[in-house]
Amino acid sequence: MGRTFREMERTPREEGGSWKDRIPWNKYFLAGLVMTGLALALGILGLFWTPYSTTAMSASEKFDPPSLLHIFGTDNFGRDIFSRVMKGLGTTIGISGLVVLFSGSAGILLGALTGYFGGLADEIVMRVTDAVNGFPSILLTLVIISLLGSGRQNVIISLGIVFVPSYVRIVRSEYLKLRDADYIRRARLLGVKDVRILFVHILPNIFSVFWVSVMIGFNNAILAESGMSYLGIGVQPPEASLGNMLSDAQGYLQAAPWYALSVGLSIVWVVLGFSLFSEGIRRGKCE
């Protein structure tokens, strides 16, 4: 029955059926879905509407503790923290999403080409990614930011560049593995063109692996963006971002602990929710 074991090994889950049947309804997935969904909804809503203006200051409402009017309280300028968190969520998630989109597609393209064809181009790209990996990522982003200047767009570019190597590595190793798979050999024998082999035959097979790294990458991007804004090299005030709010809040830990707490917990909420969500997908239906 050795063969049936192998069969079980190679078919971790039944494929087919409509996408509805494939949703992994486990507790990780559910919790993650709820948490991410809420954060996402607030973030998107925050782009169009917030309970209070995010920039309107009010001296009389300075450092109001959480109440029914201001559920996260107010900050040092009397601005509603909840509104600003909504806005910040939108900024942070948006930036992270674009970073992942940029670095992920670049990673797929470079990884696919280098992994499948190998040769000199592979050697060069890999050495460059090694070099990029050699720097601490925060240092590298600092360098890029100092060249380009701060601001939303440049944060996306610099983080995107820093994140590319990790995707290249993963995608490349998958392509390297699959390029010698029997079904790819057969495709070559049939005369299928290389571009088609790369993106129609192989790409769907690496999605499960790639998806996991996208999830991790998204979380890292959120943390990195917050970190950069916290350090003042990311999104600039008065624009709200979770990072620069946290940086502001740091000064008033004694006077308004709710400020730091609500912003910090929001970051935790998003990252944790997304981790649970991806964990749920990774575990699949069986648990």
Binding site: M1, G2, R3, T4, F5, R6, E7, R10, T11, E14, E15, G16, A181, D182, Y183, I184, R185, R186, A187, R188, L189, L190, G191, V192, K193, R196, H201, P204, N205, F207
Partner: protein, 572 residues
């Protein structure tokens, strides 16, 4: 000594083993024979206490020397089992590749058993391991002791596994398909070894296999399993002489035997080739020239009725070995020549794996290629298909885009696509290469359905994915994919060796039927002499990269010229 009484094992709702009764006395070898999914491995794993935690024993019990090891309803008693595993019962697994830890030296892994179960000192342990290595026929025990698994061949690894299993002289050895992953010649040595161990140590052995012939050679008694039940049980010769169950008879018949020689297909097709010329322009002219040239030649060779689909002339295949340092000037290459400056500069040297191959294949013919693994069979076939460009010599194709059927049906189909998509892809590719061959979507779908029918699958498979298919069904899809562009010539690399015997027979039948219908030429690679005998018109024997003998199947079987051929024939 071992008693399995009324054992049923279930995974969730599905019962894998149903009311199985087996018993084993000291010094006896019991064969458990069945196809994949028959429950034979689950029975063995449950007996060993190694079944997955999700496996529940629903009825019956397992007795070892009067002690109840496992009973219905109670979970697996890991503690109790641990005192038996290794010391009193041990197991040899199928895959010698994966059953040894790749990060530890072979000697250490065997020693581990001794460390766990005996109080021997380090030096004594090592001595004992070396002794065991010698006993299982490993020629350089010291060297094996210090080797990592990947440095050992499949046969050697399996010997190490066996050494590990027998070192404590357990009363029971369970061998789960111990030879399936090995070459024929190695297979025989392992079977002999198991027999010898059984004779000297007098332990009971449970030998699990899907190959009735193997069971016949080793076992005293056999139990035939099907769908989780033992359908027949008895002394091995009796089962062979008068099988009571229909299923047993089918299993015995399915083993390819030399008695049933296939009809010579070349007699059916005597008219010359009319090729399918739908192809790119260059290939078209190339082929046309080649065909006309070949026709002239064949008119002189009256023995062959048609132009060959493939001519291989003095073909040598090499690999670039990348481990040459620039300073290794005194190293000699494969042919005993000094390494050239170029080889030293580029850090690579040529490792020749096939040399001087010379043969041709005619339409409608099956040419068998036999030899041990590592003899260059696969390298040769890859070179023929253009998958390896490191060649010298000449390969002339007179067919369009020859295709290949791969050995492992689990890795030869893209798991993310549907069967219908897979069957249409060759047509799409052909259309993209040559506009004149482009087909409409509807035509392609129709062709795919047509091919499904041809390879004996129902239409409902069109929208399924490979993971929903069994090995045999996958191999059918694989064949369909290779044939849908009507290539005329196919390389079949061990197309049935990964399948169950009854499935093997079906696939071979299918290949033969398609050969007749579509007038295909096969290069049929196999290590199984019986399969080759059944499938092929001519046979080519390969040894260490050279074709040492080539001739008509009957001729080779009845009057083999080379000693090596004789050895191959005797071993199977």
């Amino acid at each position: 000594m071992i008693k399995i009484e009324d054992l049923s094992v279930a995974f969730g709702e599905t019962e894998a083993v149903r009311h199985v009764n087996l018993d084993l006395v000291e010094g006896e070898i019991l064969g458990v024979v069945g196809e994949s999914g028959s429950g034979k491995s689950v029975t063995a794993l449950t007996l060993m206490g190694l079944a997955a935690d999700t496996a529940r024993v629903t009825t019956g019990r397992i007795l070892f020397d009067g002690v109840t090891l496992r009973e219905a309803g109670s979970p697996c008693d890991k503690r109790l089992y641990r005192s038996y595993q290794g010391a009193r019962m041990s197991m040899v697994f199928q895959e010698p590749m994966t059953s040894l830890n790749p990060t530890q030296r072979a000697g250490r892994q065997v020693e581990e058993t001794l460390r766990l179960h005996t109080g021997l000192a380090a030096a004594e342990r090592k001595e004992k391991v070396l002794e065991a290595f010698r006993a299982v026929g490993l020629r350089e025990p010291e060297k094996v002791y210090a080797s990592y698994p990947h440095q050992l061949s499949g046969g050697m690894r399996q010997r190490v596994m066996i050494a590990m299993a027998v070192i404590l002289e357990p009363e029971l050895i369970v061998a789960d398909e111990p030879t399936t992953a090995l070459d024929v010649t190695i297979q025989n040595q392992i079977i002999e070894l198991l027999r010898k161990i059984n004779e000297t140590q007098k332990n009971a052995m449970l030998f699990i296999t899907h190959d009735l012939n193997l069971a016949r050679r080793l076992c005293h008694r056999v139990a035939v399993m099907k769908d989780g039940r033992v359908v027949e049980q008895g002394p091995v010769e009796e089962i062979f002489r008068n099988p009571k169950e229909e299923y047993t008879r089918r299993l015995i018949e399915a083993v390819p035997s030399r008695m049933e020689r296939r009809k010579d297909i070349r007699e059916v097709f005597q008219e010359p080739v009319k090729g399918d010329f739908r192809n790119t322009k260059e290939e078209y002219t190339k082929r046309k020239v080649a065909v006309s040239g070949a026709e002239e030649r064949t008119s002189q060779e009256s023995a062959q009725s048609a132009a060959p689909v493939l001519e291989v002339r003095n073909l040598s295949v090499y690999y670039q070995d990348g481990n040459v340092s620039f300073l290794s000037g005194d190293r000699k290459n494969w042919q005993g020549e000094r390494l050239s400056l170029r080889e030293r500069l580029s850090g690579t040297k040529k490792e020749w794996v096939v040399s001087g191959a010379d043969f041709e294949i005619y339409p409608g013919e099956s040419l068998g290629l036999v030899g041990e693994s590592g003899c260059g069979k696969t390298s040769l076939s890859k070179a023929i298909l253009g998958m390896n460009c490191h060649i010298q010599g000449e390969i002339r194709h007179h067919s369009i885009r020859p295709q290949m059927i791969f050995q492992d049906p689990y890795s030869s189909l893209n798991p993310t696509k549907t069967i219908g998509w897979l069957l249409q892809e060759p047509l799409r590719a052909a259309g993209a290469l040559d506009k004149s061959r482009a087909m409409t979507k509807g035509d392609m779908v129709a062709a795919a359905y047509d091919m499904l029918r041809k390879v004996g699958l129902e239409e409902s498979y069109f929208s399924r994915r490979p993971s929903q298919l069994s090995g045999g069904q996958r191999q059918r899809v694989s064949i369909g994919q290779a044939l849908i562009t009507s290539p005329g010539f196919l390389v079949a690399d061990e197309p049935v060796s990964a399948l169950d015997v009854t499935i093997q027979a079906q696939i071979m039948e299918l290949l033969q039927r398609l050969q007749q219908e579509m007038r295909l030429a096969y290069l049929f690679i196999s290590h199984d002499i019986n399969v080759v005998y059944r499938m092929c018109d001519r046979i080519m024997v390969m040894k260490e990269g050279r074709i040492i003998e080539i001739g008509e199947t009957e001729e080779i079987f009845e009057h083999p010229r080379e000693d090596y051929t004789k050895l191959l024939l005797r071993e199977s």
